[in-house]
Amino acid sequence: MSPLENALVDGAPFTLLPHQAAFVESVLAATGKPVTFLRGDVGLGKSTTLVAIASRLLHEQPTARSLFLVPAALRLQFVDMLRKAGTPALLVDRYQFREMIDSGSDGEFWPHGAVAVLSGEFARQIDILESLVSVQWELVVADEAHSFRGARTDLLRRVGAVAKRLVLASASNISLPDGILTEDAAEIRWRRDQLVDRDGKPLDVVPRPVLHEVGFNLSQAEGSLMDAVSGLCPILEAGTPQQAGLAKLLLRSLRSSPAALEAMLHRLAATSDVQDDTGEVLSAADEEEEGAGEGPAWSFDRPTAEKVGGLAGRALQEIGAIQVDSKAVALGALLAQLLEAIKPATRICVLSEFLATCYYLVAEIEGRGLACQLLHGGMGSDDRLRSLTTFSATGQILIATRAVMAEGINLSHVTDLVLYDIPSTKDALRQILGRVDRFARQSQLHVHALAVLNGADALGSEPVQLLREEVGVRTGPA
């Protein structure tokens, strides 16, 4: 065991695999390049490795300053991992920053001997960025570095300029920020099929996941609802960029469940009820998407608000006319089939993009006399742990939001992953698969995707094609 691994094993919940240990050594080597770009699929242990680098650095240089720039959803996870590794860590948000200003002096409030963990979005705010670049950092780590695009590239460039070591980690290809010379950077790529365990044996021995497309037909009433919602979208698309975004969200909620759609339609319908004193704008709803956070508010002028409200009201009536949800019925049939041959190892994870859909599915599944656990980003840490522990111990069904899958949880024991809503981007799909199809898997993963057989969203749609490319094809249920 290397000195690094010894140091980390002491009180830490993890040990490093050879590829992780080698990366840590490479970043911290005195002769190493100042910028290291780590590219590796989700689920190969990048986060653990980044924590190990900071732990080792602070072990060797107890007064070093270290900065982690991570996605907002991962801040707590990184702080927790660092602390479990015995490394002081401080989550810095606006409130913490104000208290640091209040207690510090001469701008010297960024802590020595600890890792400051900030979201990229927060770090790029002008006053925060100016403060970050006013000190020298021994180590700056940017996780999910591919998300530092556009205005955020400037953050990496400026913070990188005051960092002795800059580590960029990503599952995707990225280009180096302006100002960072290629000769100053080293790229290390982790390929799943090349990684070995501590005994030198290949780690990737489980067959690749297999895809099962679960088709279902929309009823006439569901078709009418689709038409009603489709009538709303062009009005929204013709408006501001936010309203165009709202149209996309509306379509996604339509494809997800009546519960997700109903919540959005109610807010749109309410826009025409609001009395507007100024006669100029009426505010609509915030983004519904789970994990979207505090999204922008949409505004409509009076005539548009009335039109949108009227169409939303009509669509709500169409929802009321739907007594059977074909997609939920298809899920019920799939679950019955999966649970028919009861195997102790069976662990089914059903994923949706919308929290309202998750609650809807919980009600639907419990209504069928089955037990299930719920997991979403809004849950407190104790409730999350309880859900995951129960699911792990008793098995069967976990209903989870897609957003919570971006929060570093390990679901390698899931045997069947059900995509109730199919992600529309490659990154989102990889993020999900990385939580489930990762090291420690004991068996092949079965991915089931609910897909419409009739209408405009039929099986040939873009998300289904993307899924086929990423996972592979096998038509028909498991």
Binding site: E99, S103, P111, H266
Partner: protein, 292 residues
């Protein structure tokens, strides 16, 4: 000066650390009241009053700190400007050959009290009442500006989920009563709550004695749904899903498990409005029935 390492290391002693870390979240101190996305706007002392007023209007602010070389000299506000503008006669303005808008902001300063982010909110009540605002930080290091509206928004944000949950709970009781007679309620409660309470005899007989969980079970139970379908509409699964979502937020709220997010707030408001509509429909039917 760097933060002492020893105090930072204390943050790592798990349970105790979590509480210490959360101190500013657990207590309603000034730091929580300053809007998280507040953009601090300042003007130099040489700024003309008309430019400062335009800037304030553009940002929707009613005062702006005047800062010179990083140090706060005072505050320029609509009030301080009005006081100076109204204090001179037309003759005096003519003699000076200027209009009120030509004044420099440092000619119209007023002094606000400073407070620290870690202070209790009550400590600035008097200053807020007197000046209509408080500066947060120190003259050399301004952190933010706190106004009465910030207080109002914060207190509304803290209180409104509790108010909405009470409205939801009372509305549910009223809807259950409108859907079922007292005898039906009792029979339904025995049917679906006996196992929870350990026997029919132990099941509460009054809605007021039941929990939100009990209401949810009562409404969602397959055999009871026929009573509720005309009142709640939609399908049992959809109604049940809404009640489950409310119940989860309610439990987190009342047991102080986590901070209620904007999304939770929106969800509560949506479901509250759903029930309000149902109550209105029930009321409408009743009025229709008694109309001659």
């Amino acid at each position: 000066m760097a933060a002492p390492i020893s105090s930072l290391r204390l943050l790592d002693h798990s349970a105790a650390a979590k509480e210490l870390d959360l101190a500013s979240e657990l207590f309603h101190r000034i730091n929580r009241i300053i809007p998280q996305n507040q953009v601090l706007l300042t003007v130099p002392p040489s700024c003309r009053a008309r430019d400062a007023v335009a800037l304030m209007q553009q940002h929707g602010y009613s005062q702006v700190p005047v800062v010179d070389n990083g140090e706060v000299l005072g505050v320029f506000s609509f009030r301080s400007f009005a006081g100076h503008a109204a204090g001179a006669t037309l003759d005096e303005w003519s003699r000076q050959k200027c209009a009120p808008g030509d004044l420099r902001v440092d000619d119209c300063l007023e002094q606000f009290q400073f407070a620290r982010v870690t202070e209790e909110m009550i400590s600035v009540f008097d200053a807020m009442d007197r000046d209509n605002g408080v500066l947060i930080g120190t003259p050399e290091r301004l952190v933010g500006v706190l106004t009465p509206m910030d207080f109002l928004r914060y207190l509304y944000q803290v209180a409104s989920p509790f108010v909405m949950v009470s409205e939801i709970e009372l509305a549910l009781r009223a809807l259950i009563r409108s859907a079922m007679s007292q005898e039906d309620i009792l029979a339904a409660a025995k049917r679906c709550l006996s196992s929870v309470y350990g026997g029919e005899d132990r099941v509460p007989t009054l809605l007021e004695d039941m929990s939100f969980d009990n209401y949810q079970s009562l409404i969602s139970h397959g055999e009871n749904w026929t009573h509720f379908e005309p009142v709640l509409g939609s399908t049992r699964t959809r109604a049940s899903a809404k009640l489950k979502e409310i119940n989860a937020i309610r439990n987190d709220l009342f047991h102080f498990r986590r901070e209620i997010t904007l999304k939770d707030h929106q969800t509560l408001a949506d479901h509250r409005n759903w029930l309000l509509n149902k109550i209105k429909q029930v009321e409408g039917h009743r009025k229709g029935e008694v109309r001659p």
